[in-house]
Each structure stands twice: as C-alpha cells, then as structure tokens.
Subunit: 234 residues, 4 copies
C-alpha cells in the first residue's frame, strides 16, 4: 500500500468522476460565460443546501446568481444537471481531501493507515454534510442518481475489498471473510456513522468516531499488525 493509497476511505461514495450526464452543454467559451456558469454553480450549491433538491426553485438559483432564468439554460439542461455539477465538485473534495500525510514510518502499520483514512473521510464528510443530505434526497427519489450512487459504492467497495484481500494474504486479517461482502458492509458502517453524525446532526465527538470506527473495522477483519493496540492478547 503506497502513500497514494491512503486516499482509500471506507465510505461508500468515493468514485472517480463518472460521466454523470450524457448530453452536456458545451462549456462556455468566453470569460464572461465562464463567470456566469461558475456563479450559477455557487448559487446552486447554496440554494440546494438551504432548500434541498426538490424544494429548490430554479428562480432562486438564478436570482442568487444574479442572472435571468433564461440564462440558466445556456449552461445547463435541467435542475438535475446543475446538481450533478455541484455534487461533482463536492466529490472532488471527498476524493482528494488533501493528502492525509500519513507518517512514512506508519505506512507499514495497517492500523494507522486505516485510522488516517477514516479521519480524512469523516472530515470531508463534515465539510459537505448539507450536500450529503441532498444526495440522500435525490438518491431516494431519482433512480438515476440512486444507480449512480450505487455504482460509486460498489467501485469503492471493490477497492476496499482488494485491501482486505491483501491483508488476508499477508496473514493479517480473518481469512474466513469474503473480502467484497465485508468491505461493502464496513464501508456502509462508516458512511452511516458519518451520515448520522453530520447530516442528521446526531453529533458525536470526531475523535471518538475515528477511534471507534477504526477499532470496529480493525476488529471486524481481525486485523493484526506490529503496533495494533489491544491486540497483544497472546
């Protein structure tokens, strides 16, 4: 596992930017157009966070962006499409939250890696909490978004599964677990913890969350490593 791999996180929502829409508008060519488009996206994020997706009115977005309703359709084909653009930006943040900088030394310590990944995930989630609620909303209502989210989760679970498999092969994890099923389950666990704490506002202490998530995850796969705390049971 290299330093770059520490960007792996147990959330189920990480996914390389998918081609989310098919018939996208051509990007603006003039600087003015660029500015207008950016203003719309910024405005849309604010409005979506405030009102959710279904309650957000296009006119509120254009008013916030200080342009006319007609202009909206110069850049986007629909409300869904601008949400997609907003979510894409937020996803960039979830995916590359700035390198967690795990101590080089610690890179061999699977537990430390896991903990760093969890912390980074929770922090990123917290930054985007309001938008996650919007994601829940569209996932619940629009099959297209639901499917998109499902695929993202699956891709990511696959990645985590590879990680677990790797640990199993190295004799550091419970060999009886199906890596993919376990990865899916544990990713869901962490993502749900973040959802409850940050999106629903069931606030818990961040450190406590990191500790617990990491400990549960590590225990669950019976991770053992040089410095794994509490494993020195022999």
């Amino acid at each position: 596992m290299t330093a770059r791999d520490t960007t792996k996180r147990p959330g189920d929502d990480s996914l390389p930017p998918l081609a989310v829409t098919d018939g996208e508008k051509a990007p603006p060519v003039t600087a003015r157009g660029e500015r207008t488009r950016a203003a719309l996206i910024t405005a849309a994020r604010r409005i979506f966070e405030r009102d959710g997706f279904s309650d957000a009115r296009l006119t509120d977005i254009t008013a916030e962006a200080k342009c006319s309703t007609g202009t909206f359709y110069t850049y986007f084909d629909s409300k869904e499409e601008i949400l997609d653009a907003v979510l894409a930006l937020a996803h960039e943040d979830m995916l590359h939250p700035g390198l967690p900088h795990v101590e080089t030394r610690a890179q061999d310590d699977p537990y430390a890696v896991l903990e760093a990944a969890n912390r980074a995930y929770f922090e990123a989630y917290k930054r985007n909490a309001k938008l996650r609620l919007v994601l829940e909303q569209v996932s619940a209502n629009i099959p297209e978004f639901r499917e998109k989210r499902r695929r993202r989760g699956q891709v990511f679970a696959t990645r985590n599964a590879r990680h677990i498999k790797d640990l199993q092969d190295r004799g550091l994890a419970d060999p009886d677990l199906d890596p993919l099923v376990a990865a899916t389950a544990l990713s869901g666990m962490v993502s749900r913890m973040a959802y409850q704490a940050f999106a629903l506002g069931d606030y818990a202490d961040l450190d406590q969350m990191v500790v617990t998530a990491t400990r549960l995850w590590a225990n669950a796969i019976r991770l053992r490593g040089p410095e794994e705390p509490g494993v020195s049971e022999s």
Copy 2:
C-alpha cells in the same frame, strides 16, 4: 441473555411502538369503520410500494380501497398520516417477526443469539423491502419522518449498547469500545447491508449475508463465547 433478549436485533429501526400519530382523527367506533380504515391502509401500502410516496395519488389509494376520496379524510388527515400508519404496521413486523426460536440450548451462546437476530432482521427487512425504500424517500424529504427515524434508531442503538455492555461486563467483548457508539455503528452496518441487498436489489445470498454480518459484528466487539467459531484459533 434471557429469552426476552432475543428480540434485540441489529437493525437501526426497531423501536417499541412509538406514538407515531398524534391521533388527530378519532378511531372508528363501528365495525364498518374499522373495516374501511383497514382497507385504506392495505390499499395505501400497495400503492406506496408501487409508486413511492410522492408519486402516489390519494385517488389511487381510495380507488384501490373502493371508497370515495372524502372517506379517506374520515380516517386520516393527510397522505403523510396514512403512510405513518402503514409504516407503523410494518414496524410491528420488524419488531416482532414471530419468535426466532433460538434453541434453548443455544441461548447461552452469544454468537448463536447474534446470528439468529441477524437472520430474523434480514428476513423481516426482506418482507418489507419496498416499504423501506419509501421510508428512505420520506426520511430524505420530510424532516418529521427523518426525526422519527432518527429517534427510533437511537432507542434501538441504546438497546444494543446495553447488550454490548453486558458482554463487556462478562468479559466476553472488547472492553475498550464505547458501547453506544459501537452499537450505533454496527446497527447501521447491518441495516445498510439489508438496504443494499433488498431495497436496492444488490442481491446477495441471504445465508451469506447472515454469516458475514454476524461474523463482522462478533469480530468487531471481539466477542468470545463457549462455542464461538473461529475463536478457537489458538
């Protein structure tokens, strides 16, 4: 763990029958009224499962129940309220899915208890899968339902936390875990597994799910017991 404890399950939605409705409408007093009300609930469940909450039209429900639109308002104040009644009924099923009948012998085996609970939960979830999707939908859209669901989850997590605490006290579980945070996380994990499999249709084998969920859960809290499989590794 006594026989009564076997009703504990790792889902995050179990909850002793809350007063889900504010009881605006007086319950019917005649048998005829009782019948009509029941017909409406049955019809509503069918329609909600078919169309989701927001797309379900009141007229479809009343047509299905073979009564007039006005009659609907004899028993419910709104679409939300009848959904509430539908969900309440489904919850009863989730809460009391018929006795799991854990072998008397096995009641002292925490692992077996856990497995039975998980199986019962998954089976109940499967029966109510379509409705769970509806629950997701309203939770995402209607704060009132979101809050209700949150409270349910919390109460149930508390129950599971007590279970974990009990095992810790008996020296059978990782003493370093915060019982409530751990219970919340693990309940979320199981519920998410069920959601993905049954609601989203990412079908997995039920037995496999039970085995994995139980194994992960047990591992996560470092459960050890007389017959716990996989612990006899020394």
Copy 3:
C-alpha cells in the same frame, strides 16, 4: 305615541319576526327533542360567533351540542336554517330589549324619546355585535338573507317615516323632507355607527354615541320641542 312605541329605534334591522323559511321542520314533540334542539341553537350561536357563517362547520356545531351530525337534520334542513333560528332569537332581543321605561312625563318630549330609542338600540346592538358581523357576512353572500335584511330595513324605515311625518304634521320637523327617504337615511346612519363601533371594534364611548346620534338625527329633521336642548335659538 304610547309607551310601547318607544321600542321604535332608528336601526334598519328591526322587523317583526318574519317567516324566514318556508319548509321548516316540525317542532320537536318530546322533551328530549326540545332539549336537543335548544342545545343545537345555543351551540350554533357560539360557533357562528367564533367562526362566522361560512367557516363554521356543522360538525363543530353538533360536537358543541354533543350530538351526532345526523341528529342535526332532525331539527334543521340546512346550515342556513339554523342560522335563521339563531338570528331570530337575537332579533327578539333587538326588538324587545326590555322596556326602556321612558318617564311618562318625557313621552311628550320627542327628543327624549329619540334619545332613549337610540340608547336602547346601541345597547342591544352591543350585546349582539358578533352576530351582526355574521349577519353582514350572510347578507353579502346569500341573496336570500340580503333580501330579508332589506325588507326588514324597509319596514322599519316605514315606521320611522311615519314618526317623522307625524312630527312634520305637528310642525315639529322640517316639512321639506321626504319622510321615507329621510328615515331610511337616518336609520342607516345609526345602524352604521353601531356597526363600526361594536362589530368592527372602532370603539367609541356609548354615551357619546347616543348623544351624537340623537343630536344629528334631531338636527337633521329640524326637530324642535319643549325641552329640546340648543334649539332655543329664537
């Protein structure tokens, strides 16, 4: 003008109990029925005063009267009809507010008679203010009630006109006035004063109102009499 004549008042709503509805229900024969009917009327008045006519629901009335909706139709044919009954009772009060007992001596003083009549009218109006608002409402909305009210006003104006004619004949009032037109106008004036003060809540001092109404009325017809104050201009 006898003592009984002092019940004449300048309002435009006094009218001997008209046959307000045509197809009335037969009156109850049993004592229980009598009680139920009375309870309904009492309840209806309360509800109408609270909610107005159009916002008043029959179910609120029957609930207040502690009987079922069906029972209502044992005694009344419609919401209009019970309002009619309520208004009839109130009218009795407006018509016979208890004898004003104008001093026998004063009965020859037209000014004192006028003042006593105005006072009695204002006081009766005040007692029934909320109901007057309801009367306005139905008059505005239901031609039948409007016509009924118009006829009442006309009958009463006729009565007042006779009074004015009488004074004219006795040389005590401006002979150039058309008695009926003047009576109609002045009745309207007093009734409007009461409406503004008591129904709309533009509260004015009752004594002040009586004084002003009487003075204006007396002035308007150039009433002069033995003791008329301020007329001693000769």
Copy 4:
C-alpha cells in the same frame, strides 16, 4: 374653503392611495408585461362584477384575459391580491371622479359645495356599484379587507371632521357636535344610502337622493350659509 377642498366627499371609503398591496410581485418591466397585467385586471373586474369574489374562478379571469393560469401568478399572488388591484383602481375613480366643477361663485356657499360633493360621490358610487357589492362581500369575509376598509373610512372621516370643524369655527355649524363622531356618522349615512340604492338596487331618484342627503347633512350640523335654502324660514 378653497378649491382644493372640493375634493372632500362624504363617502367613508375615499382615501389617498394607500399602499394596498404589499408588493410581493415585482412590477412588469417590459411593455408586454404591462399589457398582460392590465388585461388581467380588466378581466378580473369583469368577472368579479359578474360572479362576486368567492364564486369567481381564476380560470375564468385568465380565460377572459386570454392567458394561461400560470401567467396569472407572474403578476399576482392570489385572487385576493388581484381584487386588491381592482379595488385600488376603482378607488382612484371614487377619489378623483373628475373635477366636480363647482361654480367659482358657489365655492363660498358651503351648501352648494356639500351638494356638489354628494352628487359626485353618488355618481362615482353608481359607476362602481357592482364592485361595491364585492367590497361588502370581502369585507364581511376577510378580516384583512375589513381592516383596510375600516382604515379608509377613518382617514376619510378625519377629513370630513376637519371640514365640520372649520364650519364650526366660522360659526356656520352646530358647535356642540364632536366633529369626528359626527363626520363618521354622516359619512356612513351617505355611503349607506348609496349602497342601498345602487348596490342593492333599491332604486331611488338620483336628484332626490342628492337633495335629501345634502339637506339631512346640512341640517344635522345646523349648517347655515348665505344662500342656504330652507334656512330663511324666519
């Protein structure tokens, strides 16, 4: 009394253009929008006069204005609001009925001024009679309109009170009257006469009405002036 004073009239509904709408909707910026808005108001007046307020359907208004229902909401928030606009226009007419053109010579004759004002008021009322019925209807049913009407009446009564006070000061009117209370009462009288004649259709001869109203009003305040008819009785 200067020429400007001739705009005083005894109705109780005249009022300097109040901010009748809370200006929810931004006024149209294009000429096309202006046209559409005007068409809607014209149509609304026609429909309200035909059907009254509560029976008027929005679709009738938009059909009459030849636009879609959606367009209505571009300019108005509700049926109430467009009625408000209609009434505002009618009020302009009541307030500025075109100059009454009292003979210059006659401007010093308070009686002639009063008569001209009454005539102008009755004529304006007649033009707007159907709408006055609608005003009655909404005043009776909607507290907001009732309050608005009350305030209008009060402001206008104040104006008339000033007039009476002025005459009192000049020794031309009964000094014992409270100017405001008297003005309120007399304004109400004239407005009620107009209502009965034109709105309710208790038709009376216009000239007769003017003569009577003026005579009663003048008598009531004991107006005396150079050419006041009927005062030369000595």
